[in-house]
Amino acid sequence: MSVDLKQFHQVFIEESFEGLDAMENALMELNPEAPDSETINTIFRSAHSIKGGAGTFGFKRLADFTHILETLLDQIRSNSRGLDTNLVNLFLQSVDCMREMLDLIQQDSEEYPESARELKQKFEEVLNGDSKVASKPAQNNEQQNEDKPVCNILSRYKTWSIQFHPHSDIIRSGNDPLRILRELSRLGKLNCTQVYFDAPGLAEFDPDTCYLAWDLELRTSADLSEIEEVFEWVIDDSSVEIKEIKSDSVAHTRVNFKPHQDIYLSGNDPYRIIEELLINFEVIAIDVITDQLPELKSFNSEHCYLSWSIDLAGSFSQDDVLKAFEWVVDEAEIGFEKIEADEAKEPNQSDAENETDSKPANSNKTQAASDKAPSSGRKSTSSDASSIRVGIDKIDNLINMVGELVITQSMLGQLSTDFEMSKIPKLMEGLSQLELNTRELQESVMRIRMLPISFAFSRFPRMVRDLGQRLGKKIHLEMRGENTELDKTVMEKIGDPLVHLVRNAVDHGIELPEQRRAAGKDEEGHIILNAYHQGGNVNIEIIDDGKGLDRNVLIAKAIDKGLLSEQDAFALSDEQAFDLIFHAGFSTAKEVSDVSGRGVGMDVVKKNIHALNGNIELHSKMGEGSKIKISLPLTLAILDGQLVSVCDQTYIFPIVSIIESMQYKREAVNDIAGGCSVFMLRDEYVPVIKLHDIFNISKEKNSESQELMVVVESEGEKVGLVVDELQAQQQVVIKSLEENYHRVEGVSGATILGDGTVALILDIPGIVRLAGIDKVNEQVRELTFAHKNQEKKSA
């Protein structure tokens, strides 16, 4: 009897991932000086069951790998081998490596990660007792391999000279030369070096005749056959000549790129920059300068010892090139040299040497570098299609609800068989029961999509530990409220922004131990991740006790960047000052390293969170630390809405955005120049928007005194919206307008009301934009400020 084992693969992989998570957690807990035997047992058990599973399913390599791991662990378990930090690090690396192997298995790939081979070798060496030699071979390949993928890419990109001279009747044959050009430009970077235009006088001009011919230069990774394919249809109607240009004797510019040693620590990767150059410019040669390489024993794998000289051909301005280096200008020296034609041959030769040198495959350094950025992305794509695990209690709960629903239904059914007027109270009772049941059912179904936030938090202990170790900082990470539940889609989208914020806190927030001691703080920095429910929202806080943000530096920077005028800066509240960091202009490495650090891509974080209908706030105190608070809606599918009517139309406000509602009194409203009105809400001026005005709905009745005003909050600003009537509050299911139509400004979606009609859900920030209140708000802020000053004076 044969059983198709394939059907169990997915289960095995999922279980193995869980085992690896358990292993990682246990390793993090492990204290190398005094290992707890139970923790070691946990690690051992995970490794053992992965090995067993891998053996059963015939993943021999994984089984072999875990076997060595298991042998080592077994020795530790039986106290025949001591444990040290190095070994724990090695184990942690092996966890990553096994994850990678599992990923490959999942993709049905036969590949064997290089890091696995190396790790295996190291483990074997540890087993054989000479752990000191263990790290040597890896370091040896490191610098050789550094440039290997670059050379590969380099040889992929070629420049072709294409002479495309269509015959004059090409258009009549149904071909369009423009289409060909378009196709070509899709292959790579297309330049037109010469256009021939051979037109007769206007009198003889025939629109169906092609008088044009082109000489083109195409820079592409495509090969000859691909280019020829483009011309496949016109080859009979034109003369086409394709030649490869060997650009070794052309005058070119040499860019000397000398990164500082700690470039990796700033999160940059020189390799990526070179790749960018390869795409955007015509790179003829790349030379690696290795003279900075230290002796092996002082080699630090986190440092960059290499520098590059890159030869670029063609014409471009230095600024264009500098753009590629935008992120690293502070971490590297960049120089330009013009090289004349004859000199150019030399680097080419050395390039060829390099190519032959670099035969050994990927080292773990290039692997690590390329893993850094995409790993999180890859993870999310693989988990996208995967299943979610639902607690059995949730399922039981659901079954109970359905049971009740069935009972209510049969009760109503019975009622209807011999219905008489006297039974109306009973019918009402049944219907309210039904309402209750459906709501509960809906809630439990929604709860299935909810996952505890520990799914997003779980990666942080490891990340903080690794980063802390690398930067030489002592950091204690505390996580609270890990069982707070959050919708799966929200969870997936919040992961990356959270990583970013935590990394910022570690990198820029927490100071080095000496600095902390000097500031009279505990040497160990604290980062707290806190998640909790509040109303219909989930709040996530990232609190650190580091150095905090310097308001004055931020403001100075903003003025410098032209984001702010000096007068405005004076009126800025602390909150508004910290808000500056979310500004797009603040998001380059340069600015941030001489402010207090925060801000690399903070605008991206903010954008992501706003896309989830969430909000982000930042509080900070110089020297005491910062607190970032993110609030997110529980789910994206259902919204608590306040129904309002405007001119017989029903609209829905998200309840979370409503602060209060009140009678709209014409007397209390003042018009300020610019066509906007404001009213006084306690001691604040709030702009007023009339919904029917900005939505262009014709208003028939003219009884403004009857109107109501809903005060809502939009991105930290209060706005009053005038409506006719408030109706019920209810939960609404969000339907997309974009599915069949396109985005409508001021509307975030639609829903279907109880009577089957469609009602639009309002997007408050969109409405504010629509009304152009943004600008008005500034005026209002000034007004409020002046008002407060006056009060102070009078007091």
């Binding site: 139309q649 709905i697 599915e739 139509y741 409508v744 009609t757 639009l760």
Partner: protein
């Protein structure tokens, strides 16, 4: 479901015919607007329903009448009369909405068009079709698939994928003139 099956059958059959003869018979549903007869490919027609009031969209052009709830999906409604720059008329209980499936780059969309009345279903072959006369740059005839004579009467066949896909559905004041000229 069954209807869908039939549609697929029709399609397959037509494709089959296409192999051996150029005389394909596409079926077109025609409708009347301002005494002129228009046709759309019947395979695009999802359903025909009576007019019911739609929820207007803020700041939408006049010919977008709003959105309706079609069994849980939100479907925009286009008034083809206004879209073509004809005089708007009051909707009556016999005013008809044709719900169409439009194929676009980012997936299928469902849209409704308001017309005066539904007329007939014709089987037309490609060879019966005349291209719309070129009326110069001022008049956009891109969305006219062709003109056909049926019983001495001209039918304007619309390419709804083009018509309803244009990012903003155009307000085609000029189409009427185009039709008048060609007739």
């Amino acid at each position: 479901m069954q209807i869908d099956q039939n549609r697929i059958d029709v399609k397959v059959q037509q494709n089959g015919e296409h192999e051996d003869s150029s005389d394909t018979n596409d079926q077109y549903l025609t409708f009347i607007m301002a005494d002129e007869e228009y046709g759309v490919d019947i395979l695009c027609v999802q359903e025909i329903r009576g007019w019911e009031s739609a929820t207007p969209l803020p700041n939408a052009p006049a010919h977008i009448k709003g959105v309706i709830n079609l069994r849980g999906t939100i479907v925009p409604i286009v008034d083809l009369r206004q879209c073509f720059g004809m005089e708007a008329i009051d909707y009556t209980p016999v005013t008809v909405v044709i719900v169409l499936k439009v194929y676009s780059d980012d997936g299928d969309r469902v849209m409704g068009i308001v017309v005066d009345a539904v007329s007939d279903v014709y089987s037309l072959s490609e060879s019966d079709m005349r291209p719309a006369p070129d009326l110069g740059d001022a008049i956009n005839t891109e969305f006219i698939r062709g003109l056909v004579n049926v019983d001495e009467k001209m039918v304007i066949l619309l390419d709804i994928n083009r018509l309803l896909n244009l990012d903003d559905i155009p307000n085609l004041n000029t189409l009427k003139d185009a039709v008048a000229l060609s007739a």
